[in-house]
Amino acid sequence: MSLGTFGVVLKFAMELEAMGTAYYETATTITQNQELKSIFESRIIQGQRRIQTLMRVRRENTTEMILEPITGLSSQKYRPQTECPPGCPDDQLIQLALTMENQIQQFYIDAAEKISFLSEAADIFERLAEENANNKKRLQSSS
């Protein structure tokens, strides 16, 4: 799906965050590793906060002059695989999480460039991408 307007970009970002949070909620119930569980739980809280941030960005940055169509951004590339089968081993949970964090990070990097005319929104996208990078580091260190 083409992400052709600021509203659609933000809606997709929120969908990604919701998918990420849902994944971590399931993963938390599967893993028995306390350290990993705690990483997943903190990511759930982070995901909720990120959605609030995105809602604020949408409220505060949609102005008449920036309703110009956005081109060259499509959702397909970034939609992560978020199903984790029951009893999924930890290393696979981590691998799925890493792939997901990577895709979300890439989405924010690409989208920030596309909405660079909205400096505050672009800045927040970049910060969210940085958080994804940090999340990846944390996941990697636990594997």
């Binding site: 809606k11 505060e60 309703l67």
Partner: protein, 484 residues
Amino acid sequence: MTVEVVKNYINGKWVESKTKKFRDVINPSTGEIIAKTPLSTKEEADQAIQAAKAAFWRWRSTPAQTRIRHLFRFRDALETHFEALSKVLTMEQGKCLDEARGEYRRTIENVECAASIPSLQMGYNKEDIAAGIDEMVIKQPLGVFFCVTPFNFPGMVPSWFWPYAIACGNTYIVKPSEQVPLSQVRQFELIHELGFPKGVLNMVHGGPEAVNALIESPDTVGMSFVGSTPVGKLLYAKCGEHGKRAQVQAGAKNFLTVMPDADLDRTVPALMTSFFGCTGQRCLSGAVLLAVGKVFEPLKKAIIKAVKEIKVGNGLEEGIQMGPLASKAGMEKTLSYIEKGIQEGAELLVDGRNITVPNYSNGYFVGPTVFDRVQPQMTIAREEIFGPVMSIIHVTNLDEAIDIIHANPFGNASSIFTTNGKTAREYQYRVKAGNIGINIGIVAPIATFPFSGMKNSFFGDLHGQGRDAVNFFTENKVVITRWF
């Protein structure tokens, strides 16, 4: 299903109108009736005037710092209910959600700007204008003001006026568009919950009878109007007759000029939002595109490609870029102008008639339409269409473009797209339009600047928003003092 009959808000209470005349409020995407607006009587308008008059002295003597706290609370409520308000706006007006959100953003900006009245309303003074004598100017509120507002920005336009008016110490009556009253009703529900002092802010729905009562009353002092030029002119004259202040922001026919050196990759998206954003129903929408010299062919090609990518549909669906016209009458008017364009010999490059929007066969949709080979004397180049129609005129140079712009009676907005600073400055310097854009599609002034307009697009002296609003809602009292 019962349809909501909207109520007036007078003296801090919701009041049912006693009128027998109503107007249907229709969701333009579906054709469904979603509410009914009472066409209030003269007596009901008078009740609102009397409530506002009675509230005036207590309110004007309330310190400005206290008055604006109501605005702060209202601003927070708008943030809290942002999405819900945006959806109501889309439902009654048709514009897509992003546009509705943009409208509410500007509404909030205006409330924020008005909240700086303790600074903006300050007068000025001078010591020793003569030996031992000082002089000062105090900016005082006047009394009961009202606004008559249009269907294209039902959430925002009243905010160009009333927050400033009441922050300055006046009391106020909002007369929303009878076609789209729900956005104001929802805002007044918040105002009611927040406990604004009774009578300070009132709302009366209706048509000419209510408007005439507001103008003719000896107890009102001024009117802000946004709407068409014929109605605006009429009301402006009527205000003059009755000794009222008036600011009348009227119709438009906006010309956008693209120079051969324009950056087309950036220009074309800006043109899309200008001509087709809000389905061409902004008073700042592009109407005529003046393509200068050799830019014509590549520009035309890029426009056709971009126009075909615009997604038309129910604005409530995220991703839709253009909603329906706000009314059946608006749709029919637009279609009749397209016919006229064909009859007068313009070439229809993109035809927006007979557009099919799946699941919304009763909606008032007209697709983006582009005419080429338009001549300045054609109807579609002269008259305000207020729909998604772009008329392209090929001109040889900037002088020819400016001559065409100046031959038109409107002067609301005009933009130039160029990478040459000298050309841009010349355009800004010479073009007689109230809002000039340099590489800007929609020249929408933020709340701290006046929403300007010239020629047949504005009647009055002081515009809406910013310092102009403060001057409109206050009068200068000069005090000269000497102490013995």
